[in-house]
Structures are given as C-alpha cells and as structure tokens.
C-alpha cells in the first residue's frame, strides 16, 4: 500500500515537472520564433527593437519625482524634463527664462525680483495655464516643514519670511507675493548674485496644487506616477525600479519643442555598455574598462564617442581645525607630492582633467591663468621638514566612502605617491556613505576624499558653499578672513566681471592655503548612436532631451 502511494506521488510530481518544463520550453521556442510584433512594448526578446522617434537610455533609478523633495542628481534628471520653473539653463549654461517670459526685473537694491509669466504655459493635462498663484503654492510647499523636504530651505532660504515660515511662526512666506495672475514678486533678505540660479533647482519648480494636495516627501507620493507638470516631456509611465517612459509635451512653451516622440529609460539591467553594443540602448557612459577599446580609431565604436566637461571637482580635504593638518606647510607638502598629470592621464586614461585649483573648466570665472599645481617632491620634502617631518602624520587616516572591499584605486595611488615621495604611511578608513557624510560634517576625520558637483554654474557654488568659514558645507573647517571677505564682497557685487574677479582672487589664496588637495575634474565620456543627433550629457543637471532628434 505504502509503496503504491509513494510511486503515485512521485509519478505525479514527475508529470507536473515535465508539463511545466515542456510548456516553458515550448513557449520559449515560440517567443524566440519572432511572433512578438507588439510595437511600443519592448518585449526585450527582440533585442534592438525601437519605436519610431524613440530614444532609449539607461537611467538612474530615481528616489523621488517630487520636485520639492529631490536631493540627488539621479532624481533631478527626470524632474527637470517633466516639470519646469521660472528660469532654467540652456546647454551653453546661459540662464534663460522658462515659465517666466523674460529674466526678472530686479530692484535697484538687488532684493526684489519681479517675474512676468508667459500666458501660454499649460499644465500637461491642458486644463489651465500656470499662474503666479501656482508658483507661490509650489515655493511655499518646498519650504513648508510639513512637506519634510530636506533641501527646500537649502535653495530657498534667501526669501524674506522663509525662516519664520519654517519655524511655524507665519502662515505664508511674505517674500513671495502674487501681484496678479501673471506677475510674481520675490523678495530676498539681501542682494545675492546666485539667488536666481537657485531658482533653476527643482525645489522652485511649479506643481499643480489641485493634484499634489497635502502629499509630503515621505507620504502620499502616488501623484508622482501621473504628475501634471509643465516641462518639455510628460511622464507616460513609471514602473518603480524598472522603467520610465516620457512622451513629448507637444504644447511646450519654449523653442525648440521636443522632437522625440518618447524617451524610454531602463532603470535596471546589466551593463549599459553591453546593452549599447547589443542595440538595446542608444547612449551609454564609458568607464575606465571600455575607454581604450572605444578610443581605438579603427574600432567600430570610435565614431560614436563624445566627450564633455563636468562641473565638478574631486579632492582630498584636510581637517584644518586640528593638528597636524592645521599646518599649511604640511598640507602643501602632501599636495605637491601628488603627480596629478600621471593620475589623470596614465592612471585614469584621460577620463578626467587634472585640477589646478577649485573651479572646474567651463564654469564662469574659471581662471585660465592659474598656474598648475606642480609635482615637486623636493619642495614637498622641504615643506614636510618645516612642518615637523614625516613623524607628524605617521598613522594618519583618510576617510572615504564606499561599499565593497577595495577603496578607490585613485586614492590608493595618491597614498602610494605620498609613501614613495615623502615616506609617510596613511591608512584608508572606509565608511558607508551616510556615516561618512555625518563624520565629515562633524569634523571627525583627519583627511577625507570627496567630490562636489555644481548645482548651478557659478563660482559661488564651489568657493562660497564649500570654503567660506561660515558655510555649513565647509567640511575642511577652512577659515581665512581674507577669503571670507572676498567671498562676501563677491556675493554683494552687482557687476559680473568684478564679481568673477573677486572669486578668482579668493581661489588664489585658497590654493596657497591648500585646505583641500584638488585632484581632478570629471569629464563625461559617452557613446551615442549615429542616428541620434543633438544628444549631449550636460556638465550638470540641465534639461537636455528636447534638443535631441532621431534621424532614421
């Protein structure tokens, strides 16, 4: 009896397995046979299928598409295409009016900005035009503590009344005034050359108040699946973690209007380089593993290679508040013993530009005349002696962020140079990114390695934000009254040429003091299929998709 039951059970299982596997095989064969002509749906099976007028990209998996909440470039990249603000940057880094019909009228004392809105800007559902009320709602929403945005006040705290509003002592931000439906007046506490640049950041973008309601950054984000934006593209589909599909906003208010019909972003998958080779995506970034293959002038991919600057800097920061790194001689010794040319050209295969100062090439105020930081081991050793010899930093640590077992090769290369040229041994301490940020914020480090990417193309975003003694982002704790005074002057200066000159003066002093050892500035290296025209990876997050056309 028992035997029969067992045999029956096993037979049953076997039959089931055969059915499942057989069925699977049959379907696999059938689907491989090519009956999937369902256009518009990347079935994935027919590698290389592309809809007419569709651009296929491999994109970062965004954390949020709520403009008030985005604190990372990976999220902002989509938001700037779906939503828009009063002003934005074009691909030449010019500030241009967006929903505003012209750049604002600024009062003589530099504190009152009056924006006149275009009358033809409609929300994506074409229900109604954008009004000054919508902007007041959206800006206040970003600042409202109930929204729980971590970045709202970072970009908007210049506004009069922002502090009272955040503290809960006011029902509105008094510095945001609706004059009439087409006129918005923004008042800031003191003149600032970069206030208007900050308005290009998503926290100042307009959202549809009827749709958003009381959704916060951490609750009720359902509306961002069908956001009623005003940007060049509409969000057609967001499959969390898998794909984002944008379609053209045919009524977009700026020229050129989007030429692409749709843009599909694949958010998860294998290597984007392999996907590019297999014709699954139209653009891919190039890293150190592939760059030599691609640069080969006889290679198939060489013609597809594009390069552009990135407005960023990678550096090693020193704790200038504590011994031994409070000594500029020591910091300069370490900096002079770094062979930046070798790092950038031999080690990183020219994927980066060696840094000679703080400001990246391509930014307004970039100082062509600034001399390169030399690789001068002899001078470095002299300076080290003056600082007390190699002994003073024996056992020092450098803090870096990252997962995985091996810290970045670049950092190891720098350490090897220090060891070889100065005979000092520095150990690497690796921390999870969040913890790393906290520790450098609290000054719990001797040295750290970090990068900084521009929010807007202005020297202020590097020098003032990162190196003013009173800035919250000055992790190195750098404090030089001369630099502070130059930065403060620049902040108030209305004349652009004078302002940029002040920043250059400040940069010269910073490089002498060497609170950071600047290493290099990034470059965007990427492949674009020949039938895609007008695609560039911008130096920082700028809406770039409406300039793209597909010719085939």
């Amino acid at each position: 009896m028992e035997t029969r039951r067992l045999v029956l059970t096993l037979t049953g299982i076997a039959v089931m397995m055969i059915v499942v596997i057989g069925g699977l095989g049959a379907i696999l064969l059938a689907s491989g046979g090519g009956d999937d002509s369902t256009a518009g749906d990347d079935d994935g099976d027919d590698l290389g299928a592309r809809v007419e007028g569709e651009l296929r990209l491999f994109g970062p998996d965004p954390i949020t598409l709520d403009p008030a909440c985005a604190s990372d470039a990976g999220s902002a990249e989509y938001i700037v295409e779906i939503f828009s603000g009063l002003v934005s940057f074009d691909l030449d880094l010019n500030l241009v009016p967006d929903v505003a019909e012209a750049l604002p009228d600024v009062s003589d004392d530099g504190t009152v900005y009056t924006f006149h809105l275009r009358s033809n800007v409609l929300f994506h559902d074409n229900s109604r035009p954008v009004t000054a009320d919508d902007f007041k709602f959206s800006l206040e929403r970003s600042l409202n503590p109930d929204t729980q945005s971590t970045v709202g006040e970072v970009y908007l705290d210049d506004l009069v009344g922002a502090a009272e509003f955040i503290a809960g002592n006011a029902d509105e931000v008094t510095g945001i005034r609706v004059i009439d439906p087409q006129t918005l007046e923004l008042t800031i506490t003191e003149p600032s050359a970069v206030f208007i640049d900050k308005l290009t950041y998503p926290t100042a973008y307009v959202v549809d108040q009827r749709e958003v309601g009381d959704a916060t950054c951490f609750e009720g984000s359902g509306w961002t699946l069908t956001p009623n934006g005003t940007g060049p593209f509409k969000l057609a589909e967001w499959d969390l973690g898998r794909k984002i599909v944008l379609t053209a906003n045919e009524r977009f208010h700026l020229e050129p209007a989007p030429a692409l019909e749709r843009v599909t972003f694949i958010l998860s998958g294998g290597s984007s380089f392999v996907m590019y080779e297999n014709d699954e995506v139209d653009v891919t970034g190039i890293g150190i593993n592939n760059i030599e293959t691609v640069r080969d002038p006889n290679g198939d991919l060489n013609a597809d290679l594009h390069e552009g600057p990135r407005l960023d800097i990678f550096y090693i920061g020193f704790n200038t508040q504590e011994a031994p790194f409070d000594d500029a001689n020591l910091r300069n010794a370490l900096s002079l013993s770094i062979n930046r040319d070798f790092l950038a050209r031999e080690f990183l295969l020219d994927l980066v530009t060696p840094a000679k100062g703080i400001l990246p090439p391509g930014i307004d105020g970039y100082n062509e005349a600034l001399p390169e930081i030399p690789f001068d081991p002899d001078a470095a050793r002299d300076l080290l002696e003056m600082a007390g010899g190699a002994g003073v930093i024996d056992g020092a640590t450098i803090l870096t962020s990252g997962q995985g077992a091996t810290p970045s090769d670049i950092l190891q290369a720098v350490l090897a140079m220090w060891e070889q040229e100065l005979g000092v041994t520095v150990t690497i301490e690796q921390e999870d990114f969040g913890l790393f940020l906290r520790d450098i914020d609290e000054g719990k480090f001797q040295m750290f390695s970090l990068g900084w990417i521009a929010d807007y193309p202005d020297p202020q975003n590097f020098l003032d934000i990162k190196l003013h003694s009173e800035s919250a982002n000055n992790e190195a704790g750098y404090s030089n009254p001369d630099v502070d005074s130059l930065l403060d002057q620049a902040d108030r200066e209305a004349d652009e040429a004078t302002r940029l000159d002040l920043y250059q003066q400040a940069e010269v002093i910073v490089v002498e003091d060497m609170p950071w050892a600047p290493l290099y500035h990034g470059k965007a290296s990427y492949l674009v299929k020949p039938y895609v025209e007008g695609f560039v990876i911008p130096p920082f997050v700028i809406p770039n998709l409406r300039y793209v056309t597909i010719t085939r």
């Binding site: 954390i63 961002t224 940020l437």
Partner: protein, 326 residues
C-alpha cells in the same frame, strides 16, 4: 489525518509567531541602532543638520526603539507594511509585490529544474560507481556546486551576452501573457535560471548519489537482485524510493539558499526583483521595506519547512507514528 500529525502541525504553527517576533525584532533593532538613518542618507551633503533633526523628530525616528517596533508591527498586522523611503512616499506593499512576482517566477523554475535533473543525475552517477564516469561526474558536480554566482554570473554574461550576443546582459523582460506580466518566458530569464540551476543541480545530484550508494549497499537491495528482479525495477522500486526520503529535507535548504542567492543574482544582473530591492533598501536604510521583506521571507521559509515535515511524515509512516507511539 492521524491525531499525532495534527498536534504536530498545530504545535509548529504556534511557534510561528514566536519565531517571527524574534526575527522581526532583531531586524528592527539592528536597523534602528545602526548609525545613520534614511533621513540623513536622503538629505545628502547639502541639507542642514537642523532640518534633518526636525524631520527625524516628526517621523518618530527619535522615539524609543520598542515604541517604534510596536507601532510598526501594529500597522503590519492590519496589512499596512509602512512606506518606502527608497521609493520615497510609496506604500511598501506597492513596491514589493511586483518585485516578489519577478523573483518567484524564476526561482520556482530553478527549484523544479534542480530536483528534476539533479535526482536522476545523482542516481545515474551512483550506479556508475567504479567506472571512469563516477570520478568524472563527481568532479563536475563539485566544480559546479562550489563556484559562487559572483563568479559564474560574469562568466555567463561574458559568454552568452558579449561573445555570442544571444542573451541580454541583464534586466528583466516586460513580456505579458494573458494580461499577466510573465518575464519568465523571455530570454532575460535564462541567465539567472542557468546561474542558479547549475550549482543547484550539482548539489542535489551529489547528495542523491551519496544516498543511493548507501542504499545500494543494503541487504534488501542484494535480496531484490538475488530474486532476479529486473535492474530497472530494483532501482525505481527499492533504491530510489529509500534514497529519496532524506532528499525531501534538503528542499528546505535549497529554498533558503535561493532566497539568499537572489540578492546576489539580482544585484549582479540588475533584475528588479525582491533581492535587488533588499540590497537597495539596506543601502538606503529603507526601514519599512527591509522589515516587510524579512517578514515575508521568514514566513515563507517557516511555512515551507512545516510543509516539508508534514510531507515527510506522509511519505514515511515511521516518522508519522513516532509522535503517537514513542
């Protein structure tokens, strides 16, 4: 159903909440006591410390951990698994369910393939004992069973995707059948299935070979052979049946290995399943999502083990009566 079995099942079911409590509280506490929370990570380098502290306070992250735990579990019992912070502001259930579906699809196939190929293969290897095929097969099994997916995946990607160009290098298909998404029936499913099945089959075959060889040495097999039964009858009726019993238990371990393995598989191949979500949630301290994944994972595992025990008792009467007789 015999009385012994019923009490056994009830006893095991009663243990379920206790085990879930231990697992969930440990997970919860580990997350909360670990340095840095999701607000700080989301805020990035630009935010003001005061803003972070204010949001933390408003979101209840400053409450004592047991208070937070009770609050979470209370909601979870009503079916509310909280709100994701990796996909900021979306309910965890909405984030998890599509992912779970993807992970289930390929893992079920892997389980079926592993056992349907591994068992006959192991039996075959055992019957070839003493020939040159035996050391060869055991060598191959050992090789496949011990290569971690961290190594096999890049190799398979290189071979099938880069060199041959026949399979996508990763990701998951959106193919639909009868209105339901079935990425399983596409080329995207082949790499993960292959990478998990190879070591699975090898492991099961190796284990089965050992079991069969043990049974082959026993007296009743010799008797059966002596009686003049056909060799195939001896193998199917006597050898395989007895060798299979202990195999059922390793089904549970295979399942556990799959749950863990999908984290690596999905991260390496960019498959948007529950494994990749788990990895990302841990990286970004998405507390609620981590909790939900752990609760679902441990419930599935515990229930599977229970089913296996019951099935085991069903196949082998000696185990079932043990409860009532001894």
């Amino acid at each position: 159903m015999p009385a012994g079995l019923a009490t056994y099942i009830i006893r095991r079911l009663l243990l379920l909440p206790l085990i879930l409590f231990i697992v969930s509280f440990a997970t919860f506490a580990l997350g909360r006591y670990a340095p840095v929370d999701y607000v700080e990570i989301q805020a990035g380098p630009r935010a003001q410390p005061e803003t972070i502290e204010r949001i933390r306070e408003e979101r209840g992250l400053n409450d004592p951990v047991p208070v937070q735990y009770v609050r979470y579990m209370g909601n979870a019992l009503t079916g509310d698994f909280g709100i994701s912070t990796r996909y900021q502001g979306f309910p965890v259930a909405d984030v998890i369910l599509p992912r779970l579906w993807i992970t289930m699809q390929y893992n079920i196939v892997v389980l079926v393939l592993t056992f349907s190929i591994g068992l006959p293969l192991g039996t075959w290897a055992a019957l070839r004992r003493g020939t040159w095929q035996d050391p060869l097969s055991i060598g191959v099994f050992l090789l496949f069973a011990s290569v971690p997916v961290l190594i096999s995946i890049p190799l398979l990607q290189w071979l099938f995707s880069v060199q041959l160009g026949v399979l996508p290098s990763g990701g998951w298909s959106e193919a639909e059948y009868l209105g339901v998404e079935f990425g399983l029936f596409s080329k995207h499913a082949i790499l993960p299935i292959l990478a998990l099945t190879l070591p699975g089959v090898a492991g099961v075959a190796r284990y089965m070979r050992g079991q069969v060889m043990e049974v082959l040495d026993q007296d009743f097999v010799r008797t059966a052979n002596a009686k003049g039964l056909k060799a195939s009858t001896v193998v199917t009726r006597h050898v395989a049946r007895n060798a299979l019993l202990p195999i059922v238990t390793i089904l549970g371990f295979e399942l556990a290995a799959l749950i863990g393995g999908s984290i690596f598989i999905e991260t390496l191949l960019g498959i948007p399943g529950i494994g990749l979500l788990a990895f990302e949630s841990i990286k970004t301290r998405d507390y609620d999502t981590i909790m939900a994944i752990v609760l679902i994972g441990s419930t599935v595992f515990i229930l599977t083990m229970l089913v296996i025990d019951v099935v085991y008792g069903f196949i082998d009467p000696r185990i079932r009566v043990e409860g009532s007789m001894s």
